[in-house]
Amino acid sequence: MDSGLFIPNLRSDLSRIISEHSTIFIKSYGNGTLATPSFRGTSAQHTQVEWNGISLNSPMLGQMDFSQVPVSQFDGLEILYGAAGIARTSGAFGGIVDLITMPDWNNRINVLASQSIGSFSIYTTNLNLCFGSEKLQSHTKWNFTSAQNDFPFTNNNGVEVKQENASYYQYGLSQELFWKFKNRHLFSAKVWLSEDNRNLPPTTSNLDTNKTEKIHDRAVRAVLEYKLVDKGYNLLIRSALNDQYMNYSNSTIDMNSVHQTYSWINRIRFTWSKIKNLKIKPGIDFTYDWVRSDDYSGRKTRSLTSLFVELNYSFNKHFHSSLVLREDIIDFSLNPLIAALGVEYKPFNKYNFMLNLNLARNYRYPTLNDLYWQGAGNPDLKPELSYSTEAGTTFNWESKNKIVYLESNITGYYTWLYDMITWSPVEGNSALFKPENIDEIHARGIEAGLNLLLRISGFTIGWKNNYHFCRSTYEKANSTYDQKIGKQQIYIPENTLNSTLSIEKWKFFLNYNFFYVSARYTGKDNLTMMPGYNLSNIIFGKNITLKNFILSLQLDINNLFDLDYQSVASRPMPGINYSITVKLGFSGTKN
């Protein structure tokens, strides 16, 4: 099944890293504000965002805002597409993005300080301290960003103005301990605190506003984990707490509401591989969500118990198969079985060429807002159902002299989504929006990736390309007057292309990123749209090393051709902008 693990370099924008390494479309409402992912023609709620395997999606909203995630807190990023996500959780019809941290047992000490200064008074400071032995490692990471974010843009009346009420700050602190015992036992304890305070800017047509609208988020995430790796079996036990506080206020309408959620997330996984060619992985997950919100009447809770088994069987060294079964129990009621079946075929010994086929059935449960939002929540909602199939090939090749390395993949998918929960106005009460199991969506498309790496006369040249074609259409009308059948889902582009060229030599590095997105419709009748556009970004810098010290200077130029664009209607985006980053590091490794 599709998955990939990437180690990003230290840049500050998660949205960009994700779009460079995948075909996920990020819908961005502006600099430093809401950014939500869409995988394979599905919505943000069909994407699970995780931190070390622990869900970060809000149990209220069912989604995660990427603008709240500082990249410096992570060591890597894992992306699971479609059916592959069933091994982790239910409901991730699109896929899973996992932000991971991991120890480097060879590290003795690693200190890193970086400061970046950007256009529109955006300042980011990161401090990392990682030290330890081959048995014990400690990571401490601190990040702070403050931004005026007052970029100029052309408003609805054609007047150039500066964005107002858009400033934000964000900080995070994490402490992690990893302890390895007898090479078989691994204990880890992690705590991550984060806070941000964001003013929400008015839209380009919301003029003369004297309002202040803002969001204050605070989160504490803590996890304890034990891993046992032995001959023939391994074991994982994990228990995590996720405490998320959110305060939204809007002076225009005298609104000030507080939402507090606690989630207790537990996982036990066992892998048993004593029979040849067979791996059996049973597991159990238990999650308890507790929410107190000004927009719910009273406190709401939900428990989710999930029984899970994965079987991997290899018929021979060419032909592998996997079956995943998951049974979810929500508040003591059984839900329909979730299942995924996958086969993998590697016809050649000589070449790294693989064909794979996956089939899956998956359910997504209503969010707590869908169920309990005061005056609107609908307790009668059914879970959303999806059937999906995908077929793909990957081909990787390295030249014998190791000068050229090539990775390529192409995947076709088809997803049928039924009973999709949509918030719609209620007949006879048009001021009220209610969630209902309304839409039926068919999403099909092709993902293609081509990565080339060349090492020649001291140059390292990388070229990464991701292309995605997606038709995600409405297949059911609400009434005979409804015009949306067969029309593309709003804000889901048909074509996206991301191409990144990077060149390194003499410790200089240059990275050119080209991003193209085709038109996104803004109406379900496909009569209005945001035109397509392309953006170019450049990073240029140099690393200077002296013994154990490293000094790195980096210049980022974003929106190189100063395109005046909006990604989402009426949400301004900045023109050409710059940032300079200075990093100073010291590292000592084993010997």
Binding site: T154, N156, N157, G158, T203, T204, S205, N206, L207, D208, T209, N210, T252, I253, D254, M255, N256, Q374, G375, T422, S424, P425, E427, G428, N429, S430, A431, L432, N478, S479, T480, Y481, D482, Q483, K484, I490, Y516, Y521, T522, G523, K524, D525, N526, L527, T528, M529, M530, P531, G532, Y533, N534, F561, L563, D564, Y565, Q566, A569, S570
Partner: protein, 372 residues
């Protein structure tokens, strides 16, 4: 000059390649803004909107896609987004309503906090009245003065000679509908916006238009959102009860002279919120939306139990009665995420015509030449 064939081929190839990349790069030229895919009308000849019936399309909150469509009955034509066409800029965010006086159109754009003043004939912008606080509706006191209700606790007084704000009448809460009666302006007030609960105190303010002072108030049912005056000079107030059914909706008949409630009809159906109270040109029949379109004689002793025009799966959202013909204009906002449709019925509910509209058609405005 003769060009060698291979060179031509190469030239054609290069041109094609350029065109291909041009297609991608061409987007970089113009600002990337929301556009209409294929405008349903292809009108290029200049037309006058003088006798038009204007459909005010609210647009989605914070999407900046408010628009005005116009029906030209003489030409049997409907033209979309006439403000954008005339002024090369979009109308703004959430167009709530429109009023016409002295051949000038006043477009109340709620979340852009302004009023766009246009010449009715061609919809060219004349001026803009900025600095309002989420304006909702407008009513003329006379040819020099108008009142505007706001979400944010006041009534704005406009001087129509200069099209500027001349005064602000402070109120305790959100003000909504207006009706001129004699030398008074009656203004409904819904209560505190942020407190959509049973604590809201709904009233009809009585304002002396000569002094711009609130001189009295009449307590009503929850959310008094509609107000009309009948042939016997009785004021009808429709109280929606609140979007979350905080109380049962009601229709009140007020004696504006004595400032008392004379009659109260209570809606028994739960879950629906009546809205858009209208009256016919002769002032003897009320119309309102409650899912479908309902009709009720002012002399009736009970609320109608059957709709005149059933909704049939439509989201009927805007309603108006033509001030001369008495025809019923009703709009379907669909699911708010596609363009709507407007329907014209005669007064007995027979469908005459239907028209395409923009996003979320919420109200109608009939040109001055045809109004009373």
């Amino acid at each position: 000059m003769k060009i060698p064939t291979p060179l031509i081929h190469r030239y054609i190839l290069y041109t094609k390649l350029l065109l291909f990349f041009g297609l991608i790069a061409s987007c970089t030229k113009d600002p990337v803004r929301e556009v209409t895919v294929s405008p349903p009308d292809t009108t290029t000849v200049p037309v006058s909107y003088k006798n038009g019936i204007f459909i005010i399309n609210e647009g989605n909150y914070n999407w900046g896609n408010a628009s005005v469509s116009v029906i030209l009955p003489d030409k049997n034509l409907v033209i979309q987004d006439i403000f954008q066409k005339a002024n090369s800029r979009s109308l703004g965010d959430v167009a709530e309503s429109m009023k016409i006086k002295n051949n000038l159109g006043y477009l109340i754009v709620n979340n852009s906090n302004r009023i766009e003043v246009v010449t009715v004939d061609n919809f060219k912008s004349l001026t803009t009245i900025p600095g309002l606080n989420s304006p909702r509706f407008m009513e003329f006191v006379d040819s020099t003065k108008a009142y505007i209700t706001n979400l944010q606790k006041n009534i704005t007084v406009i001087d129509l000679r200069s099209n500027t704000i001349s005064k602000v009448i402070k109120t305790a809460t959100w003000t909504e509908n207006l009706l001129k009666y004699d030398r008074y302006m009656l203004v409904t007030s819904i209560g505190k916006f942020s407190d959509p609960t049973s604590d809201r105190v709904p009233v009809v303010y009585v304002i002396d238009t000569q002094t711009d002072q609130i001189i009295d108030s009449i307590l009503t049912g929850k959310e008094p959102i509609g107000m009309v005056i009948d042939k016997k000079q009785k004021v009808w107030v429709l109280c929606s009860g609140g979007y979350d059914n905080f109380e049962q909706p009601s229709l009140l008949r007020i004696n504006p002279e004595l400032r008392i409630i004379e009659k109260k009809f209570t809606f028994t159906e739960i879950g629906k919120v009546p809205s858009k109270l209208c009256i016919n040109p002769t002032g003897d029949t009320l119309y309102y939306l409650n899912g479908g379109v309902y009709m009720m004689a002012v002399s009736a002793s009970a609320l109608p139990s059957q709709s005149l025009i059933p909704s049939e799966g439509r989201l009927l959202y805007g309603l108006a009665i033509h001030p001369l013909t008495g025809h019923i204009f009703v709009s379907d906002a669909k699911d708010y995420v596609q363009n709507g449709t407007a329907y014209q019925y005669n007064h007995t509910g027979t469908l005459l015509k239907e028209f395409q509209t923009g996003r979320i058609p919420g109200s109608f405005c009939f040109s001055e030449s045809k109004s009373k």
